[in-house]
Symmetry: C2
Subunit: 335 residues, 2 copies
Amino acid sequence: MVNIQDVAQEAGVSVATVSRVINGTRCVLPETEAKVRAAIAKFAYQPNLSARNLRKNESRIILILTPNFSNPYYSKVLSGICDVSRNLGYSTLIYNTYDSNALDEKLVVSLFQKNRADGMITLACNRDDRWLEKYAGRYAIVQCSEYAEEMELPHISVDNRLAARESVRHLAASGHRRIGIVSSSNSYLSSANRMRGYQDALEEAGLPGEAALVAYAAPDYSFSSGKQAARTILTSPNPPSAIFCVSDILALGVIAEAGKLGLRVPEDLSVMGFDDVDYTTMFHPYLSTVAVPCYELGRGSMELLYDHINRKPGAEIGVYLPHQVVYRETTAQKR
Amino acid sequence: MVNIQDVAQEAGVSVATVSRVINGTRCVLPETEAKVRAAIAKFAYQPNLSARNLRKNESRIILILTPNFSNPYYSKVLSGICDVSRNLGYSTLIYNTYDSNALDEKLVVSLFQKNRADGMITLACNRDDRWLEKYAGRYAIVQCSEYAEEMELPHISVDNRLAARESVRHLAASGHRRIGIVSSSNSYLSSANRMRGYQDALEEAGLPGEAALVAYAAPDYSFSSGKQAARTILTSPNPPSAIFCVSDILALGVIAEAGKLGLRVPEDLSVMGFDDVDYTTMFHPYLSTVAVPCYELGRGSMELLYDHINRKPGAEIGVYLPHQVVYRETTAQKR
DNA sequence: AACCGAAATGTAATCCATTACATGAATGAC
DNA sequence: GTCATTCATGTAATGGATTACATTTCGGTT
């Protein structure tokens, strides 16, 4: 494999000059630069990244901690992260934590040490993972989608509270007086904030909150847990005519269960999802939902991380991307 | 950051000995080893990977070329790859080629050179990408799911031809005499082999092939292209009573279009998919399909790659994992 | 007692790019 | 004409782990 020596020799200059040309660190005479570039081109020379990283004391590796690779939401985010990181010259080491919601402190530290990662992006930490703060100074960390509350750590997400509020407001504006919510019994800030937004909207519309309208699905966001939650709500004495769900898959479960109970969507029951993953429009009724810019969240989190790795002054702490509530076929006027 | 020097000093031995303990390359006296291990533990020492890679002339990075990160099939495969690669100490650099089916030769070479990757896994190459062979000696390459035909390059997949044959054989055994196929107009070997399997089964059952029973959906495997293909087949003069599809999403499209045409599934039309992605059981009718062990394909491809990187004698060239045809709610006896 | 060989460990070269410091040439000021 | 300064480039140290080769030690053989 050709190295910087060979290039220097070919160009008739020293290795230092070649390095300067490559990195553009100091002025090099145009004709010298031309010679060097010619030699680089001739050999198709590529600097050895291990040597460079060793010298510069960086790894050009960023860690990504994701709970579940195959979840379409996360895979979209990952896609955004990978595209940007590739352009910035970083390798991504994706670590699947398999829905173990606890973002393990020991794991994080050991991953950092073992890989000497330059930074990390977490896709799902709990709202009370305050220990992250301890490492903020030492390592560059960005939290994407979920983040630990009340901490000065970089994070990027949508405004979950507002999005939920808008969705539920729409349901109320469509005449629904009894609006349920299917949340998830996890410790994500998004779940908490979507619940808050739901309550905001009820209050705003002058509707009373009621325990029977609230169900918590299992923390796995699965289809079947959505069905189960729906059953609880819909078989109660005075069931709602609309249900807001904190995820699309849960909403799909709700729709399935509603069908089982003889309810038509949207004629008898309006349903709203959250995220807008691909299959929301893969079969009818198309799901009304909140479109979350997953890919852009991924891109944004990597860009944010890059700024923090390079200690760019003024790098932001909290970034919020715009969402959009989309009304399709699972929501209708109350009859 | 603590280095091997510090550990050696603390343990009162030379750096060579520390290295030997870490790598287990040569005999070290038990008490010496104990001292070294104590020092390592005390400092929580982790070898610098850049230095190690530089010296060993490896990068511990493997490239993954995938057409579409967010496709559930690929994300499952990626999940398997990442889990194994992590355990083997490799970083994965995932490169999204965005459905540009042409696995670009220049891209591959430049990625290898730039990252000095130790190996590469391709998730989708065309059956005629014979240029790959040129690089087989120089780089470790494993083809997962799709591979270039008639070449001695490592690959792993299911037996697409057999799986298709079994599925269609089942339809024939259920009394269907006119069985259609929705394939995809791409250049994947899987498509070709599933077509061959379809023909095998027809022949086996003594059923005639017929052009009107065959439709090629757009190469994007999309829901809408499935619908379009179904329309072609189902509106022909003498439509089939069963359709075998080369992907689940296409099958979903077929079912949707059948519904539009007033056909009930499975009463009027049996439909089989391929892959068994998550949403096949997310709404009724549950899809009959061929379960492909995506995750295991991912695992297997990384293990295979590892063997080839290390030039393990007897590393296999072609690995075939078992599939399983699952009969759910979209297939029924012909009436 | 002399010698051999194996085992355990140490010394130092090596991988390759970056960069602090050194050198030499050219420019300009007085 | 001399000295300071800047610019372009070269020399060599550096980062940290691996490993070929060297050395020491010790048990065993004759």
